[in-house]
């Protein structure tokens, strides 16, 4: 549609003729900037593996995007940076020891099946990175749940858990509870460890501190609003607090829920994905609350197959986003009350 105007003709379009100056590229760039602290943290905690996975995912996503657009005979969109964002987010959701080819396969799935088949950015119905993670979790269950030992288990004194089993914090708890053991003892130091990120987990999700820094940047740049992360984290907090108050021995304290299992990453960076979340403020709140409830359901029902559940919760809410949008339209100006 853009006109290359070398001639002396005036440009004519429908109004308005001025623009605030924002662009999709700028939004994506802001997201990347916001992800930078978390990337730094992942390099610090996981070293070369973080770099290997992130580079693999980004490169594969870019390549897949380029190839898809080429094959469909459409204008190339790799310059809008959305493929890079997908690649980084997917990499952040992978365990450090994952083989490179699996990361590449997941990235390919994210871009081709979850995004470009629908026509590219804006048309996809599920967050590509999350859908790809769910796909990998089911296809490569073993490799997707192998974690390196960061000493967190020892620090909470979960002695009942087999010392060779290396799991994420919530995984530890779930295994312990399934085995009928007592709730591990969460010391202040253990919580602090969760906050800074020295724990087992996917490479980008561990450091709550770095992620919150990024989220603050996004809020400041007005790329996201507080509604989705606020409602999501708030719901998880309230739900976990109630459980903890009712049965302190059998449930994880709320602060552990908030700081682990990729909740911050999911709430601030994945649930806020514009394409797959509602457009009105009311819809965003419902979306966030829904994500929170489903996350907690998956986490706390003992027989559940997954200890964490952020990705599935967001995916499920992605699925009903069109329905939320339909039900949460604003009251039009002049509607009789």
């Amino acid at each position: 549609m853009k006109v290359e105007n070398q001639t002396e003709l005036f440009l004519v379009s429908s109004s308005p003729h001025t623009h605030i100056g924002s662009s999709v590229e700028r939004i994506m760039l802001d997201v990347l900037i916001a992800l930078a602290p978390a990337f730094a943290a992942s390099l610090y905690f996981f070293g070369v593996d973080a770099l290997r996975l992130t580079a693999t995912c980004v490169a594969t996503c870019l390549l897949a995007e380029w190839l898809c657009r080429k094959a469909m005979g459409r204008t190339n969109t790799i310059s809008d940076l959305s493929a890079i964002v997908t690649g980084v987010l997917l990499a952040f959701n992978l365990p450090p020891s994952l083989p490179t080819w699996m990361a590449a396969a997941g990235s390919l799935f994210a871009i081709t099946i979850c995004k470009q088949i629908f026509g590219g950015i804006g048309y996809n119905v599920f967050n590509p990175a999350l859908a790809a993670r769910a796909f990998m979790l089911i296809s490569f269950t073993g490799a997707m749940t192998v974690w390196s030992n960061s000493g967190w288990i020892a620090s909470v004194g979960a002695s009942t858990v087999d010392a060779t089993t290396v799991a994420t914090p919530l995984g530890v708890v779930k295994e312990a509870l399934k085995a009928g053991a007592a709730m591990p003892n969460f010391t202040g130091a253990a919580v602090m460890q969760l906050f800074t990120g020295k724990i087992n987990g996917c490479i980008g999700e561990t450091s709550a501190l770095a992620l919150l820094l990024g989220a603050a940047y996004l809020l400041w740049r007005k790329v996201i609003t507080w509604h989705i992360p606020g409602a999501y984290i708030g719901t998880v907090f309230i739900y976990a607090s109630i459980l903890h108050l009712v049965a302190p021995e059998a449930s994880v304290p709320p602060q552990i829920h908030l700081l682990s299992g990729g909740l911050i990453l999911g709430a601030c960076f994945m649930a806020t994905d514009m394409v797959t979340s509602p457009v009105t403020r009311k819809g965003m709140l419902i979306f966030g609350v829904g994500c929170g409830i489903i996350t907690m359901l998956i986490r706390t029902v003992k027989s559940g197959a997954y200890p964490e559940g952020v990705s599935f919760a967001i995916l499920l809410m992605n699925a009903i986003t069109p329905l939320i949008n339909r039900g949460c339209r604003n009251k039009v100006f002049g509607t009789k009350s």
């Binding site: 629908f118 859908a131 559940g304 069109p322």
Partner: protein
């Protein structure tokens, strides 16, 4: 509690459409408009609940006493369900013509909706009693409706999407259904 878990299981965990992959055809067929989809949901909930009850009676009082359940189950169930749907079709045409018009060809198609036969067969396999069978039929239909309505919402969005030409229409709808069923895997194991 047991009944509640049964319902939750049938609606979310072992969703008929997204987990057992039954009844895909009406989901693809009537997911273009939310109004038609809700009508279809109503019809399916009604048919599946009634069919569960009727087939339970058929099994309990006819097939089992006469030792026919081993080989006549499928045949007789289909026969009963088919006539039941026809009956509903006639009744609906008489008393709810707009709904009948909205459902169009898809009402007779419930006859061949494998979810209906599926729920009857699962009921017998699990050895549910009358109440449990009926409840399971109802819950399974709820699960079907949930999937159908979610899918309709998505469908309205993907119908406006711009897939490559070869993926337009049902193809992209099936891809979406696949991804949706991937998302539903999150409920795995919540209820045994």
């Amino acid at each position: 509690m047991e009944y509640l878990l049964l319902v939750i299981s049938a609606v979310f965990v072992n969703n008929f459409v997204l987990s057992r992959f039954l009844g895909i055809c009406p989901v693809l067929g009537v997911s273009k408009k939310i109004s038609t989809a809700t009508g279809m949901c109503g019809a399916v909930i009604f048919v599946m609940t009634v069919a569960s009850a009727v087939t339970w009676g058929l099994q309990k009082y006819l097939l089992e006493p006469f030792g026919l359940d081993k080989f006549l189950q499928t045949l007789s169930f289909i026969l009963v369900i088919a006539s039941l749907v026809q009956l509903i079709d006639i009744v609906m045409k008489r008393f709810a013509p707009p709904l009948h018009a909205a459902l169009g060809i898809f009402l007779p198609l419930i006859t061949t909706n494998c979810a209906v036969l599926g729920v009857a067969v699962i009921n017998m396999k699990e050895g549910f009693g009358f109440f449990k069978s009926t409840l399971f039929g109802f819950a399974a239909a709820l699960g079907f409706s949930l999937a159908l309505i979610i899918f309709t919402g998505l469908r309205e969005k993907i119908d406006r999407a711009a897939p490559p030409r070869c993926f337009k229409g049902v193809a992209i709808a099936l891809v979406t259904a696949g991804l949706l069923s991937l998302a539903f895997m999150g409920f795995n194991g919540l209820v045994k």
